[in-house]
């Protein structure tokens, strides 16, 4: 369960970029690994990634802290060839990095984060990556009978994998996110050199977070159950707050768009993405920050009419300006509605960088003053707002309507 997209597995990015990655299993390890990663990075003169999975990012625990260190003196880079990515430098840097990669890989055997824990039952060896190690320990509080390879550092030295190969006759991979290691060890063949289990053979679900119960099932251990959920328990999808300005904006947009069944409303990332769900059912897309405007422009250029974009004020400040400039430059017939609640509502009310300067930002990008207006999304202005939107849809160019009313949560807080 995540707030927007599927959880991505950052081990692919570290692999792709050829940088080491540390993967903590606990809050304490996360604390220690971040310190270690900075040291390791300075030693290697390479970035070092630290992987946080959803469960670790959304949890708290007691952590033993170490004493803080003085800040490093500022040392501006003195070798432009490392920082100016001209092809001549980039080619050389890449050749150097790939030449160092075997020794970086071998070195992981000398660092403490990958650890073979012996076990007497060699029928199964368990490769436990990051947080999955906790679930294994939860299930075997007095020690796991199987040999375990606890993974917290990538790339993994071949010597470690060879040793573990000798310790067990089959492997079970416990990985949060993607079957990253499992797929590498299994390879592209239908039969692996030796039995490999995990997310790819159905021992664990292919998608979704791990849990102590899923790991228990993968190990054929009993799973306890509480009481059944009574059938009357209905799902509770999130909704916009009572009195939310976005709800009033969606009301007048729907009034207008009822007359244009072929039109589309491209939206963006924020509380207002809930406009896709009943009772609003107003918007048609949400992809990434700023895509409301660029997708509306692309659709309008391809002949879709009317093409509307709905974007929040802080999303607009973050990633909407470039797309709007592009639409102005090409006079694309789109109507952009900026939902200005004067804050970053979804993440808890941080300052929005466009507050107090939104009109001048939009005008500065070249939107004509006649087609830039501020509306107040309140029920008593519903008809007036709809009328203005209808007029702007008729305009053969870029219009921007700013629907401005403060977030109800922020008002409550003050």
């Amino acid at each position: 369960m995540h707030s927007s997209q599927n959880e991505q597995d950052s081990r692919f990015y570290a692999h792709f970029a050829s940088v080491p990655l540390l993967e903590p299993s606990t809050q304490q390890e996360a604390y220690e690994m971040v310190r270690a990663a900075f040291d390791y990075s300075e030693q290697l003169r390479l970035p070092v990634a630290v992987r946080l999975v959803t469960r670790l990012a959304h949890s708290r625990a007691d952590v033993r802290t170490a004493s803080s260190r003085p800040e490093n003196p500022l040392q501006p880079a003195s070798e432009p060839s490392r920082w100016v990515l001209l092809p001549v430098h980039a080619r050389r840097n890449w050749a150097e990095l790939t030449a160092r990669w075997p020794s970086i890989t071998a070195e992981s055997a000398t660092l403490p984060w990958n650890r073979l824990i012996p076990g007497s039952d060699r029928r199964l060896g368990i490769v436990a990556c990051g947080i999955a190690f906790n679930y294994l320990q939860e299930l075997f509080p007095n020690g796991c009978p199987y040999p375990v390879l606890k993974i917290g550092h990538y790339p993994i030295a071949t010597s470690i994998l060879d040793d573990f190969r000798k310790a067990a006759d089959a492997w079970l991979f416990l990985e949060e996110g993607a079957p990253f290691l499992e797929a590498q060890i299994r390879g592209p063949f239908s039969m692996s050199a030796f039995p490999v289990h995990g997310r790819l053979d159905g021992r664990l679900p292919r998608t979704g977070e791990l849990s102590p119960d899923l790991v228990a099932q993968a190990l054929e251990l009993p799973v306890s159950e509480g009481h059944p959920v009574p059938p009357l328990v209905a799902p509770r999808p999130p909704i916009l707050c009572r009195g939310c300005p976005h709800a009033d904006t969606y009301d007048f947009i729907r009034d207008v768009m009822a007359g244009y069944p072929g039109g589309r409303i491209f939206s963006d990332i924020g509380c207002y993405t809930l406009g896709a769900l009943p009772p609003y059912s107003t918007i048609h897309t949400c992809v990434d920050m700023g895509a409301a405007i660029t997708m509306a422009k692309g659709a309008a250029d391809a002949g879709l009419f009317p093409s509307l974009a709905v974007i929040g004020d802080s999303t607009f400040a973050h990633s909407g300006l470039t797309g709007l400039l592009d639409a102005v430059a090409e006079n694309s017939p789109i109507t952009v509605i900026i939902l200005d609640n004067e804050t970053t509502g979804m993440t808890g009310g941080q300052e929005s960088l466009s507050s107090g300067r939104l009109e001048s930002m939009v005008a500065g990008l070249g939107v004509a003053p006649d087609h830039l207006a501020v509306l107040t999304p309140l029920p008593r202005f519903r008809q007036d707002n709809a009328q203005r939107l209808r007029a702007e849809i008729g305009h053969q160019g870029v219009s921007v309507l700013i629907a401005r009313r403060p977030c109800i949560q922020i008002r409550k807080g003050t």
């Binding site: 849990s211 009481h227 209905a234």
Partner: protein, 201 residues
């Protein structure tokens, strides 16, 4: 000592504050704790659950395994029932608020929810919002829930009251005292309704 619980409710009901208060109390005891919340969009009225684990020994999993929660503390009656598979079938208690939060059309009949809660062997159902309103602290319904659940938690009430004082210190004495009054009244209501809950280990 080992105590697993789930706090359930609707976004905006102060569930993370309850978690933080129990976390403070655990740290005051020198215990280990793990707290993990599962939510979609935090402020948007969806279902929110917090897994909270306390122990005098290191805790491994951030999530409570099914059938292992000694307590489900629910700030809303529909949410009280959503996580029952996590409730320990032998000794788990459900402490639930009666006041429904109707965020959807298909909200069940509350009397059916109350009946389902009362069908559990160990439960305490009461109206935390009404108690908080009666004590002129309408925003402290979450603290009322903490008070109502306190007989089932592995803490002396003084430890939880000290956590309240620390949590609300920067809002001033009046806020601390109002919250402590709500806490005590709710605890009293729970003790009167269910005279002798099994003492935690």
């Amino acid at each position: 000592m080992r105590f697993d619980m789930i706090i359930a409710g609707v976004g905006g009901q102060g569930i993370l504050t309850i978690s933080a208060l129990i976390g403070r109390a655990a740290l005051a005891k020198g215990w280990h704790l793990k707290q993990s919340e599962v939510h979609g969009m935090a402020q948007r009225g969806g279902a929110v659950q917090s897994h909270l684990r306390l122990s005098d020994r290191p805790i491994h999993s951030d999530l409570v395994p099914r059938g292992r929660a000694r307590l489900i503390l629910a700030t809303e009656p529909l949410e009280a029932l959503r996580y029952l598979p996590w409730l320990d079938p032998r000794e788990g208690w459900l402490v639930a608020n009666e006041e429904p939060v109707r965020t959807m059309d298909a909200y069940p009949d509350p009397s059916a929810l109350y009946a389902a809660i009362r069908s559990l062997p160990r439960h305490f159902l009461f109206n935390a919002d009404a108690l908080a309103r009666r004590l002129q602290a309408p925003r402290a319904a979450n603290i009322a829930m903490l008070g109502a659940a306190s007989p089932y938690l592995p803490f002396e009430p003084e430890t939880l009251e000290a956590a309240l004082a620390a949590q609300f210190a920067r809002k001033g004495n009046a806020v601390v005292e109002a919250n402590q009054a709500v806490f005590r009244a709710a605890r009293q209501a729970a003790l009167q309704a269910v005279p002798s809950p099994s003492a935690p280990p």
